[in-house]
Structure formats: structure tokens, C-alpha cells
């Protein structure tokens, strides 16, 4: 797999932010957006391609977690509308 380019990293960054904004819970949503921004900012000067790839792989895994959890909390918020017994 070719090393991640600047464009790919930026795409990943945008995708993560976009997905995070779909968290229905205020605290999760704000945390995800803030953490992603801070993490990418913190690592922006990393030069070693191996390290970059490790970070990119972790970010991809985190993106998948966000995708799954956004759906999970969305589904569970819906259930709040159910009548309580």
C-alpha cells in the first residue's frame, strides 16, 4: 500500500469530522469534533512515513468506530420516544 499522501490525510480528516457531527448526543459530538481537530493538529508535522501510516491506520479504525456509534446512539435515541411502561 502506498504511503498516505497529504490529500488522503485531509480526506480522512474531513470524513471524520463530517461523521462526528452526526452524533446525536451533545457531549459525544463535541468531544469527537474537538478531539479529531486537536489530534490532527498535534501530528501535522510528523515526517516519518511509517509513523504517518500508523496514525492514518488508527484514524481509519476510529472513523469506523464513529460510524458505528453514530448509528448506535441514533437508534437508541429513537427508542426514547417509546412509551414508558
Amino acid at each position: 500500500m502506498a504511503a498516505s499522501s497529504r490529500a488522503q490525510v485531509l480526506d480522512l480528516y474531513r470524513a471524520m469530522l463530517r461523521e462526528s457531527k452526526h452524533f446525536s448526543a451533545y457531549n459525544y459530538r463535541t468531544y469527537a469534533v474537538r478531539r479529531i481537530r486537536d489530534a490532527f493538529r498535534e501530528n501535522k508535522n510528523v515526517k516519518d512515513p511509517v509513523e504517518i501510516q500508523t496514525l492514518v491506520n488508527k484514524a481509519k479504525r476510529d472513523l469506523e468506530i464513529i460510524r458505528r456509534q453514530v448509528r448506535m446512539t441514533r437508534i437508541n435515541c429513537d427508542m426514547e420516544f417509546r412509551e414508558e411502561i
Binding site: K21, H22, F23, S24, A25, Y26, N27, Y28, R29, T30, Y31, A32, R34, R35, D38, D62, I65, I66, R68, Q69, M72, T73, R74, C77, E80, F81, E83, E84
Partner: protein, 406 residues
């Protein structure tokens, strides 16, 4: 009855509006708390159509009582709640093997956070059970020259950090067992059981963004610390805690520990900043506010403030948009002031005026600002109504007043 009908209409309206949930939420920090039936309030801070009224819940500022699950923790747990449901002690099939592998992975994650060996971690139902196991050890091994020192690492009411390393050093040199309840400290401040010479440590899942109902006890192997089991049964967890280990819960605890290890520095920096912001803003706007607990040896995320001439419970009720506490959840049923505040020598009246603000991983600057604003507003309002405050303003020394005739 009426509430439910109104609620269902709201629900139908929100569902009818197309494309709602996919929009980025428009809500900032608008809050409207419904006084009736808060347990049925809908957490609806996604984008709402303007004509629909949403019932919102209070801000959560009570992380010392419990913490929400980190999404990464839930993500790790779900497969074990849904698909990989085997008993980790079943030795004869894949369900058992995969469950056991997950349990051992979680054990490693917990051990790694505190510098322990995985064989020294026993899973329990929580820090309370771990505390009981540790204390029972004293009864099991009592000899003229052994005893047990048990100290909290970080206090849950005032956030004070105890000098664990120093205590550990003393205990080790006197050959006394050292136990610490690290429920509020694990994953928030660096802990190493070897550097700090800790023999026993209690860990709680739901204080570190993990699930409720699970914890662990660290029991040193070298030199061996002998512990007597609280509950007997099938001999699981090296005979020290029988009962099927709940794989989904321990996976959650492990994931919470791993996330905490990665996020500790970032969280600590951010929480310190927010704590500074909260205390400075309040103290600069209000006179006669005391922070309880040693300011130097203090975990920033737990701020306990006493507002003189204001009754703590009435301030809590006034701050109904914010979930707060005065004193620990364990004792919140009674109206007695906190034993911790009494122990540090706080005056009785100030002890009744204390509020605990909890800042955690998910707390935002907006939430802090809102809490501060409401707090200042209500303290001022309550003081205006207070005859004690009036007397103080007139220059009367309250300690000189004779309150009784006889």
C-alpha cells in the same frame, strides 16, 4: 397523563419532519428542563424543526458520581453482548475460547494502565467489592506485626490527591500492607503499583467512562499478598473471586483503561484548563467562596466550593439545569453534611454550603460557562434573600451572635 400525550405529539412531529437526524444539530447550549418527570425527558439535541419543542436534559457536571460510556468503550463491548456470548470458562469450544481471549486481553489492558502484571488483576463487580476483599485480607492474615493501611488515591468529594508514593514507601519499610481505593484516580493521574509500592488497589469501571457493574482488584504477587475470597463457588479468578467473569463488562473495563492510557495527558490538560476557568470566574465574581481541599495536591476535575451564607441544597435546586451534587452520592440520601468536609475542619455552616463540580473528558467550555453563569446568578439571588448575608453586609460578626436565649 397530559405530559405523555404532549410528548407523543412532539414525538410524532419530530418523526414526521423529514431528514432531521441527518442534519448537523442546530442547538448550541439551549436548555429547557422540564420540572415534571425528568426521567422521561428526551435527550433531543439533534436538529429540531422550529415548530417542535424539544424536552432537554440538564448538563452533566457530576462525573464523580458516574461517567458516561466512552463511545470507543461501547464499540468494544457490543460484539460480546450480541455475538460472542460464550462463557469465558468454557474450555471445550470456540465460544469459550474467544470469550476467554477477550477477557485476558482486557486483563492486560487494565494491568498496563497501572504498571502491573496481568496475573495480579482480579475482576470484580466494582471498587466496593474490591475494597471489601482487600479489607478482609487483614482479618485473614492478622499477626502481631501485620496490619493494613488503606487510603483513597483521589478523594471523590473534594478531589484531594493523597501522597501515595510516600505512604507506599513507609508501608513497605515497615512491612505493612498498603491498599488504595483508586476509583477516582485510575486513568486520570499516572499510577504505577511498583513505583508507589502499592500492594492492593481497587478499580472501578464506571468512574473511567466504562460500564457499571464491573471493577477490578490489583493484588501484588511479589511479595505475595494473600487474600481471602469474599464469595466462593467455582474457583474462577484464581479462586479469589468465584463467579462467571462477565466478558462484555470486562471488555468494557479493559477498553476504558486503554483509552484512558492514551488520553490521560490530553484529558488532564484540558480538564485543568476548564477547572481553572470555572474557579477563577466564580471567585472573581462572588465574595466569600471557599475551595475545599488542598489546592496544591488536587485533581482538577473535582472542584468542591463552599458559598458562604447560601444553603447548599437550595443552590442545587436552583441550579436545576445542571446535574450537580453536594457531597458524595453514597451519602446524598441523608441531610448530614459531608464527613469529608467535617474531617478537614470545615465550619458546620460552610459544610452545608458546599457544591461539587465535576469536569470530565466530555465537558465543554460552553457547559462550564453556563454553569458558572447560573451559579453566580443564583448565589447572588439567594444571598439577597438571606438574613445572615444582610447582617454580614451591615458589619455584624456572626460569631458574636447569641442564637439562643437560654
Amino acid at each position: 397523563m397530559l405530559l405523555r400525550t404532549a410528548w407523543r405529539r412532539t414525538a410524532a412531529a419530530v418523526r414526521a419532519a423529514p431528514g432531521l437526524r441527518s442534519e448537523a444539530p442546530a442547538r448550541g447550549l439551549r436548555l429547557r428542563v422540564v420540572d415534571h418527570a425528568p426521567q422521561s425527558a428526551v435527550p433531543s439535541d439533534t436538529a429540531t424543526a422550529p415548530e417542535v419543542e424539544s424536552v432537554l436534559r440538564p448538563l452533566y457536571m457530576d462525573v464523580q458520581a458516574t461517567t458516561p460510556l466512552d463511545p470507543r468503550v461501547l464499540d468494544a463491548m457490543l460484539p460480546y453482548l450480541v455475538n460472542y456470548y460464550g462463557n469465558p470458562h468454557s474450555r471445550t469450544h470456540a465460544y469459550g475460547w474467544e470469550s476467554e481471549a477477550a477477557m485476558e486481553r482486557a486483563r492486560q489492558q487494565v494491568a498496563s494502565l497501572i504498571g502491573a502484571d496481568p496475573r495480579e488483576i482480579i475482576f470484580t463487580s466494582g471498587a466496593t467489592e474490591s475494597n471489601n476483599i482487600a479489607i478482609k485480607e487483614l482479618e485473614a492474615a492478622i499477626q502481631p506485626d501485620t496490619s493494613l493501611v488503606s487510603v483513597m488515591t483521589v478523594n471523590n468529594e473534594i478531589g484531594v490527591k493523597q501522597p501515595i508514593a510516600e505512604i507506599g514507601q513507609i508501608c513497605s519499610s515497615r512491612r505493612v500492607y498498603f491498599h488504595t481505593d483508586a476509583a477516582q484516580a485510575v486513568g486520570k493521574i499516572p499510577l504505577d503499583v511498583n513505583d508507589m509500592k502499592i500492594d492492593l488497589m481497587s478499580i472501578s469501571g464506571h468512574k473511567i467512562y466504562g460500564p457499571k457493574g464491573v471493577g477490578a482488584i490489583y493484588i501484588r504477587r511479589r511479595p505475595r499478598v494473600r487474600v481471602e475470597a469474599l464469595q466462593s463457588g467455582g474457583g474462577q479468578e484464581r479462586g479469589m473471586r468465584s463467579g462467571t467473569v462477565p466478558t462484555p463488562l470486562v471488555v468494557g473495563l479493559g477498553a476504558a483503561c486503554e483509552v484512558a492510557q492514551q488520553e490521560m495527558e490530553y484529558d488532564h490538560k484540558r480538564i485543568s484548563k476548564l477547572a481553572e476557568r470555572l474557579t477563577q470566574k466564580i471567585m472573581n465574581s462572588l465574595p466569600d467562596v471557599v475551595m475545599n481541599g488542598d489546592p496544591e495536591h488536587h485533581y482538577p476535575g473535582c472542584i468542591n466550593l463552599s458559598f458562604a451564607y447560601v444553603e447548599g441544597e437550595s443552590l442545587l435546586m436552583a441550579l436545576k439545569d445542571v446535574a450537580l451534587s453536594s457531597g458524595s452520592a453514597c451519602t446524598s440520601a441523608s441531610l448530614e453534611p459531608s464527613y469529608v468536609l467535617r474531617a478537614i475542619g470545615t465550619d458546620e455552616d460552610l459544610a452545608h454550603s458546599s457544591i461539587r463540580f465535576g469536569i470530565g473528558r466530555f465537558t465543554t467550555e460552553e457547559e462550564v460557562d453556563y454553569t458558572v453563569e447560573k451559579c453566580i446568578h443564583h448565589v447572588k439571588r439567594l444571598r439577597e434573600m438571606s438574613p445572615l448575608w444582610e447582617m454580614v453586609q451591615d458589619g455584624i460578626d456572626l460569631k458574636s451572635i447569641k442564637w439562643t436565649q437560654h
